[in-house]
Symmetry: C2
Subunit: 340 residues, 2 copies
DNA sequence: GTGAAAGCGCTAACAA
DNA sequence: TTGTTAGCGCTTTCAC
């Protein structure tokens, strides 16, 4: 037996009132007689009535859903953020639609288009590309609330939540330099990605400040997956004069580097020192524990959601830019070096 | 400047045809003159028309979205599944709404209700409770496609995708017994959760088969978070005669146990042997590496999504039950014991 | 081949 | 206090 969900009309009929009255009673607005209200409530109960949010949304133009487009939910960094956003959304009676761009601009664009045609109320996006973003500008032109997260997009003026990538990277590399390293490798992500750029700047700035000439052979680019990072690390450390220290731009890369070092028989921190950007569960389980630049992951999603809901409730201030500090957490993966 | 999205009416007007014709041209069905079709296409292009999926859904009763209610996306097991479902959904032109039940029945129920009122096309759920599930039965009564994942719910007859929890747990514990252990601890999750029950059965069956009497002091119950697992492990191993081996029912618990052992100065596998259910990234980074029962995580989400989309495309067979095998992956966290 | 019109379920302005 | 009605944007019979 297939039971169709009851509609407002059914409720109204059972309660012997008009649809308008039924609606008023159920949403408690406008004037409704006490007795009538009771009758309607009873009828609704009896029929197991739940409003059709689709119809409501069509009527008032907005579906109480927020869309969230991230690189990949499998990355614990994004998983945490998605979770926090969902919690806050739920508190406000919204649901969460989630999409992975998988760091493909085309996918981000089509995902966004498909969500836009859902009349979703607002978006939280970690944009794949720092410069190519007509689709985001379009959102803003249509006045759809948008919060950028983890990254910014050029020419897209809206709320965003970032961390101090450059400063964090710089702290890490300065620390390596202070420990006597001068051949410092960088394992970085695709340069289209904003965070990757910023972290590289920090790396370069630290080198420059110490008077160390940049050296392309010290830099390896990889996609942000453990597997790719393994390969990139192997490439970097198969050279005749490899780095004595490595800075990795995210936790997946750090894991890849760890794996690569193990397979190459390179020991940390004896043979090479390592600092990763973004703390991760594994970092304290290894021996030695890994020194990292940590970011306040638990703040990011919540801050973004708060910003978004402020907009949704009509706040009309100029875009806010929140930038969280990062922290160097010194553990055991860096050793002092005298020969450089 | 706020630009409102163009509607079909706008397109029709610009192309000088009726809305019906415009719709036909854009969705390419029915008869449309070539020339007319061109005109409409051009107009749509010019206005940047994208259909309103909300209105379409209201019209034909279903929104091309699938809902997914899992324990917690932060658990890598669920993150992986969610990701795979999203990929498959996207291939079929659907989006994914995600909700975390956080293993709270009440939350699962309210989440489900709120998604149901969205006229979502189907659901994939990892039910929190094995017995309390009127809400899921309601779904079936209304003929909404539902696939249960990781767990079953009593009296809910629908497609489901599971792994052989009991067999996996049994293999693990049998292995410990074969290695000479007789005091085998169990660190388990809330008993309302189906997988927890099954894994405990496997544990008990293995003990029984070896003629080892069950002992309540060997069992500790915790919530599935690293923090809770740490406490539970400490409790278990603070007894006067603690277990010589531990079996943990999921990867978060395994991590908790690892942390607890470290803080207590208990070394693996020398002082205690460990096997965890569910493989996890950290397992091969520790020293020694952790022996685990692995499940084919990458299959589960895909299988569930496939089942769901089969239903959505009208397949009307009796519910399918897929149960994947588990595999004991022997690494280094178990040692041989002669004294028992 | 194309248009007119009904209606999905709901809300809100207006009347009564 | 309640009912009537229009209409959100779309699809789809039915008539021409």
């Amino acid at each position: 037996m297939v039971r169709k969900p009851a509609t407002l009309k059914d409720v109204a009929a059972l309660a012997n009132v008009s649809r308008a009255t039924a609606a008023r009673a159920l949403n408690s607005y406008g004037y409704v007689g006490d007795e009538t209200a009771q009758k309607v409530q009873a009828a609704a109960e009896q029929l197991g009535y739940r409003g059709n949010r689709l119809a409501q949304a069509l009527r008032n133009g907005q579906l109480p859903i927020v869309g969230c487009i991230l690189g990949d939910i499998q990355n614990p960094f994004f998983a945490r953020i998605a979770h926090d956003i969902e919690v806050l959304a739920r508190e406000r009676g919204h649901n969460l639609v989630i999409g992975s761009s998988e760091e493909e601009l085309a996918q981000e664009i089509s995902l966004l288009a498909s969500l836009q045609s859902l009349s979703i109320r607002g978006f939280i996006v970690a944009p794949t590309s720092a410069d190519n973003n007509a689709h985001l500008q379009g959102l803003i032109a249509e006045n759809v609330p948008l919060v950028l997260i983890d990254r910014v997009a050029e020419g897209v003026d809206c709320d965003n939540v970032l961390v101090d990538n450059e400063g964090g990277a710089r702290k890490a590399v300065e620390y390596l330099i202070a420990m006597g390293h001068r051949h410092i490798g960088l394992l970085q992500d695709d340069m289209r990605i904003f965070t990757s750029r910023e972290r590289m700047s920090g790396y370069q700035a630290a080198l420059a400040a110490a008077g160390i000439a940049p050296d392309d052979r010290m830099v390896s680019v990889s996609q942000s997956t453990v597997e790719h990072a393994v390969d990139a690390t192997i490439r970097l450390f198969s050279q005749k004069s490899p780095p004595t220290a490595l800075f990795t731009v995210d936790s997946l890369m750090t894991q890849g580097a760890l794996l690569a070092f193990r397979s190459m028989g390179i020991s940390i921190p004896h043979d090479v020192s390592l600092i990763g950007f973004d703390d991760f569960n594994l970092a304290t389980f290894t021996d030695p524990q890994i020194t990292v630049v940590s970011q306040p992951v638990s703040e990011i999603g919540r801050a973004a959601a708060r910003l978004l809901f402020d907009r949704l409730s009509g706040k009309n201030e100029p875009p806010q830019k929140i930038r969280f500090e990062t922290k160097l957490i010194v553990r055991g993966s860096v050793s002092r070096r005298s020969d450089g």
